[in-house]
């Protein structure tokens, strides 16, 4: 990383052409002769396999393989093997393949979007290889290629000029010079930027890609999901192996133990969860695109939400990039102006005409046009300096005018025009200008004009005098902040996000703008302000007293790491002026060192390293260069800072909603695992089958879990601090505690109650059940007695058992109704939040309908091993659950601040399930 901050040593321009050719083993006529190898890309099938075998899939594959193994063993040892294991294996395989395909297509979709960004402007390069001209993509250019460039081409890579005829290149994105620079094969300067025989391109070309861009970094959400998968896999494997060993110790056969293992794995893995997460992220990305935030990779959505520092550009992002002249002290701006009105709009008022040229020049043009009427002077295309013939034909002198930043212009002046007379410029005057200019600068921008006495005409080189000029006047301009920005900055502040303004402006200008948009809030002072107020030297002010600070970019270089940390930590409002891209990178690194998640905005080519280094790089859709768009994770279509804040809100929302989804999905794991545990430990008939578990995970739970992604933001979403990436995990012990320890247990109890009711009403009282398993699962025992002395054949018992599975399933569905309403909110009461989420309501109905379908559809008893249950169970169950559901609200006040208002969910819910009962019962009750 440190490499990046240093200048890359470039010596090629100092070598002779032959040396360069030797160095790159190339020939300056024939071109490069070694075959080029395109950079390795991941083949599609590898990506597919990664989806197929990554994450939870490995666990499920293990389960499926164990199933097939168990079936194979059964088939080998028994005459009439039960097909259960085979079916389960097939179902598991199908589940893995389908979810794998789903994720693969999702990823393919998003990478296609990214591809389209890359190809927005497909840059081509004409290279000579082995004597032949080949048109290739710019990124395939390698060191040693002989590149041919003609007028209008973009330079594809850093090149050493071998031969050139009248070649000029536009270097503005690199050096800021707007004037095309000549290029020729001769070395004219030691500095590769200045010399004429080398052309550097900062971020194109293969070697730049690999050398300069920081390596892969993982998005916080990707880390979170990985963390979460590790936890769940750990738990699954731990439980599975524990019970496998326990089963062996308890004297079960290997086969049975393996089947338990499969059951526990299947119960533990939330199969549908990863798909849910992907869908949630996609939904949000779409929603953000509507709000002018184009997200290039899905994970960036969430990253934005956890952002704690935003390093924002000034021009165009915070401000409108439309200069208007605020104060005029002179009227000679029009002459050396490069801006021109576009043709065909004479009818329009001057202020509304389109102007070709940069913002400050167009502002001046408009201003002059308004004040002095038409400007028809012979405008040279020179930005700061222009030479005109005077209108007086007898006068053989030329007029040289110059404008620019005040400090530079002032140095070139020897005289000053005061009331029409030329007077020598002395120190006193300079001083007073300095003060005047400070005052104006405090709120506006600057421009100076210069009027010479007459000089010899000249060509390209500056062979004339540019000092001894006469100072004419001062103009001030303002780039007004965007309307929504102060509000957005305020929102950021209340959301605990630090906004750092990074700009190339003069510190005083920067400070003025920062105050204008609220980045330096009212009443906060910088060290210099305090010094000025107390009239003491700056060195005597305690830096801790100043909350705000304005740092000069060049000072950053001299700061040690500790000093840097100190500044970033102790000042809440930071403005960094006169910043270069390298310094931007230093700032981003400094913030990240302090544990912040940093968003960086940028539009220029040279912002790319900072955009890449940042946790989330934000490029500008309108003004941004293609390179910056490629490097960024997100693109603001309207270049507006306020859109970032909207993005942050969406990002936080998605984190909240994902958390809700995960809490919801994880909850049903406990009622899925506990049946197995009791089955093994208490030897009761199996309360919940493996297929039924899959029905819950992939069937009924899916739509409600996804519907939580549509949940609207809670009122305090932008009033709390950004999440701490180290402490506030997506899945933390608090979430596990509430999902597994409390709600999950309630659900398990509900399920077991349903199970016991079914069995008891069919004759097997709970006391009879304990220890019955061995006979229960024995095919040859066909006269097993229940508590009433009735005798059951194997098939009859199994039908009761499957009815129990169904009952357990339905009771989980019912408690999941309550759970989804519980999970709807993290902090708000459900009454505050309301039930306006239509998708969620749809989800509830869908869940119920699916459950009813699975339980009652003819044929399902064969396919899924579900048998209808008596609806009377609800009557008991409902009353009990109604009371049980009250628990979390009451209890969670003690345990966690986040789950406080749960009480509200209950009352509204009881009636709806009652309704369902009434609807269903008449037709179905036996």
């Amino acid at each position: 990383m440190d490499e990046l901050k240093k200048e890359v040593p470039i010596t090629e321009h100092k070598m002779s052409i032959e040396e360069v050719c030797r160095k790159f083993q190339t020939d300056c006529v024939q071109g490069w002769s070694q075959c080029s190898h395109p950079p390795p890309t991941t083949p599609e099938w590898v990506k597919f396999c990664r989806q197929l075998f990554g994450g939870f899939s490995v666990l499920l594959w293990t389960g499926a393989i164990l199933c097939f193994l168990a079936y194979a063993i059964q088939a080998a040892t028994e005459d009439d093997p039960a097909g259960d294991n085979l079916y389960l294996g097939i179902v598991l395989t199908a589940v893995v393949v389908i979810t794998g395909c789903f994720s693969y297509f999702q990823e393919a979709k998003s990478s296609k979007i990214m591809e389209s960004f890359k190809n927005m402007v497909p840059q081509q390069a004409l290279v000579i290889r082995e004597g032949e001209k080949v048109q290739i993509n710019a990124e395939e250019v390698v060191g040693g290629d002989l590149v041919e460039v003609k007028g209008g081409d973009r330079i594809p890579a850093d090149i050493r000029v071998v031969s050139a005829h009248g070649c000029k290149v536009d270097n503005s994105s690199l050096t800021g010079e707007s004037e095309p620079q000549s290029r020729s094969p001769d070395n004219t300067h030691d500095n590769p930027l200045e010399t004429r025989n080398a052309q550097l391109v900062v971020f194109h070309g293969s070697h730049c890609h690999s050398d300069l861009w920081p390596g892969d970094r993982k998005d916080p959400i990707a880390k979170e999901i990985e963390h979460f998968i590790h936890i769940i896999t750990g738990v699954a494997v731990f439980l599975g192996v524990t019970f496998f060993i326990l089963a062996i110790v308890l004297g079960y056969s290997w086969l049975e133990a393996v089947i338990f293992l499969i059951g526990i794995i299947v119960a533990n893995v939330p199969e549908g969860l990863l798909a849910t997460v992907t869908v949630c992220l996609t939904l949000t990305a779409k929603r953000m695109a509507k709000k002018n935030c184009l997200v290039k990779n899905l994970e960036a959505v969430e990253t934005l939400g956890s952002t704690s520092t935003i390093c924002s550009d000034k021009t165009g992002t915070l401000t409108q990039n439309r200069m208007t002249v605020a104060h005029i002290l002179a009227r000679v701006a029009g002459l050396c102006n490069r801006a021109q009105f576009k043709a065909g709009q004479d009818a329009l008022p001057i202020l509304k005409r389109d102007v070709a040229g940069d913002a400050s020049e167009s502002a001046l043009l408009k201003c002059i046009e308004l004040c002095c009427g038409s400007v028809r002077a012979n405008r040279d295309r020179n930005k700061k300096l222009s030479i005109h013939e005077t209108e007086d034909t007898n006068d053989n002198r030329y007029l040289l005018v110059m404008k620019g930043a005040p400090e530079r212009i002032l140095d070139c002046c020897s005289t000053i025009m005061v009331q029409g007379k030329e007077q020598p410029m002395d120190e006193e005057l300079k001083e007073s200008f300095q003060n005047a200019y400070m005052e104006l600068e405090a709120s506006e921008r600057e421009c100076w004009d210069q009027y010479p006495k007459g000089f010899a005409f000249d060509t390209d080189d500056v062979n004339f005098q540019t000092d001894q000029l006469c100072f004419i006047g001062l103009m001030s301009m303002i780039d007004p902040p965007r309307a929504a920005v102060p509000d957005a900055v305020g929102k950021c502040r209340s959301a605990g996000i630090k906004v750092i303004m990074v700009t190339g402006d003069h510190p005083i200008t920067a400070k003025a703008i920062a105050k204008g948009v609220g980045i330096i809030s009212e009443g906060n002072e910088t060290v210099e302000d305090i010094a000025a107020r107390l009239n003491i030297p700056v060195s005597q002010v305690n830096p801790r007293d100043a909350k705000a600070c304005v740092i000069h970019g060049t000072d950053l270089k001299d700061l040690s790491q500790d000093q840097m940390d100190d500044i970033l930590r102790n000042h809440t409002e930071i403005v960094i002026a006169r910043t270069s891209p390298q310094q931007k990178l230093i700032i981003v690194e400094g913030c990240q060192r302090l544990g912040a998640i940093v968003a960086v905005t940028g539009d220029g080519v040279n912002d790319s390293p900072a955009l890449k280094k940042a946790d989330i790089g934000v490029a500008m859709g309108i003004s941004g260069s293609d390179v910056s768009k490629q490097a960024a994770d997100m693109i603001l279509l309207d270049d507006n800072f306020a859109s970032i804040v909207t993005g942050v809100e969406e990002g936080r929302l998605i984190f909240d909603n994902l958390k809700k989804s995960i809490a919801y999905t994880l909850t049903s794991n406990i009622p899925e695992i506990t049946p197995f545990l009791l089955f093994i430990c208490a030897n009761i008939p199996l309360p919940l089958g493996t297929i039924t578990i899959l029905c819950i995970d992939l069937g009924t739970d899916m739509v409600p879990a996804i519907s939580l992604a549509y949940e609207t933001a809670e009122s305090d979403i932008m009033k709390r601090q950004p999440r701490n990436p180290f402490r506030d995990k997506l899945v933390n012990e608090r979430l596990i505690s509430i999902a597994y320890g409390q709600i999950g247990m309630i659900q398990a109890v509900a399920g077991f109650f349903a199970y016991f009711v079914i069995l008891a009403e069919n004759g097997f009282l709970p006391s009879r059940l304990v220890g019955i398993r061995l006979n229960w699962d024995d095919r040859s025992v066909n006269d097993l007695e229940d508590s009433y002395g009735q005798q059951w054949t194997y098939e009859q018992r199994k039908i009761v058992e499957f009815t129990c599975h169904t009952a357990f399933f339905v009771s989980i569905v019912v408690v999941q109704w309550a759970d989804v309403i519980i999970c709807k909110t993290r902090r708000n009461s459900v009454f505050q939040q309301g039930m306006r989420n239509k998708i969620l309501i749809f989800g509830l109905f869908e869940e119920t309908a699916l459950a009813a379908f699975l339980s009652y559809c003819p044929g399902m008893d064969v396919a899924l091993r579900m048998y209808p249950l008596n609806f009377l169970i609800f009557v008991y169950d409902e009353v009990r659950k109604l009371l049980l559901r009250r628990n979390p609200g009451v209890c969670c006040d003690v345990i966690g601040d986040e789950e406080t208002m749960r009480l509200g969910t209950v009352t509204g819910f009881g009636s709806s399930s009652g309704l369902v009962q009434v609807l269903v019962r008449p037709g179905l009750a036996p």
Partner: protein, 257 residues
């Protein structure tokens, strides 16, 4: 730098487990842990109490003499009948002696030890059966009274009663098999008001849900597959799913060599 970080991480881990400065164990103080444990204790006690209470209420609603639902005991004949459970029931049938899980009775008349266990099983079964049927004191554990069984006398099984022939004919190659219907409370099998009958090739009529079959002339030294069906109008014959409902099949092989 990495070393330093690793070391920090190590310390951090140790500090996480036990932080002597703040007296925190795994990131929480003792009182915090105590509160959590207390909460979970109360929570689970409450949950368990709730469960017990509802179970108790549920058990109170149960009839002591007859389970609430018996439709599962009668195998539904067709899936479509699921919505209106069939009033027809198909009780299970089992045979005694039960040999192994594949219902194979194989023995050699020459070797006493190969059939002795069958005879013993039958002995045990019949003595228990008659005991059950005659002595009411044994019915205490079963929630089903008044018991509608008739007085049962083993002599009614004639040759298969084990009184005349203690070996139930096994020694002679004419073994007795007892087929019994599974008991279902309240079910009175019968065909047009008559007692049901079981067909096993030879017709043997008994009014008890217990049938003794004696194979008088069976081919020896080869496998004989036998299926017995129950015939009664409220017991439909045949069910694809349950091969033990209303019928029983087994394999018999008597070796004489």
């Amino acid at each position: 730098m990495y070393d330093k970080m690793a070391k920090d991480g190590d310390n951090g881990w140790k500090e996480y487990v036990w932080n002597p400065r703040t007296r925190e164990f795994l990131g929480r103080t003792a009182s915090s842990w105590g509160l959590i444990l207390l909460f979970y204790l109360v929570f689970y006690i409450f949950l368990a109490g709730m469960f017990c209470l509802t179970m108790y209420v549920m058990l109170q609603t149960l009839d002591d003499h007859k389970p609430k639902w018996q439709d599962r005991l009668s195998t539904p004949v067709q899936c479509l009948r699921v919505l209106t459970p069939s009033p027809l029931s198909l009780t299970g049938m089992v045979i005694r002696p039960k040999a192994d899980e594949y219902y194979e009775i194989t023995y050699n008349t020459q070797k006493t030890e190969s059939w002795d266990m069958y005879a013993q099983t039958l002995d045990k079964f019949l003595s228990r059966k008659s005991g059950l049927f005659t002595s009411k004191s044994l019915l205490g554990e079963v929630k089903n009274n008044p018991k509608r069984s008739c007085q049962f006398n083993r002599t009614i099984l004639e040759d298969c009663s084990g009184i005349n022939d203690r070996y139930y004919g096994y020694q002679d190659g004419k073994p007795c098999i007892i087929i019994k219907l599974n008991r279902v409370i309240g079910m009175l099998p019968g065909k047009d008001g008559q007692a049901p009958f079981v067909t096993c090739g030879a017709k043997v009529n008994y009014s008890q849900p217990l049938v003794a079959v004696k194979f008088l002339n069976i081919t020896t030294n080869e496998d004989v597959n036998i299926e017995c069906r129950i015939n009664a109008n409220n017991i439909p014959t045949g069910s694809i799913r349950d091969k033990w409902a209303g019928r029983v099949s087994f394999k018999l092989r008597i070796n004489t060599i």
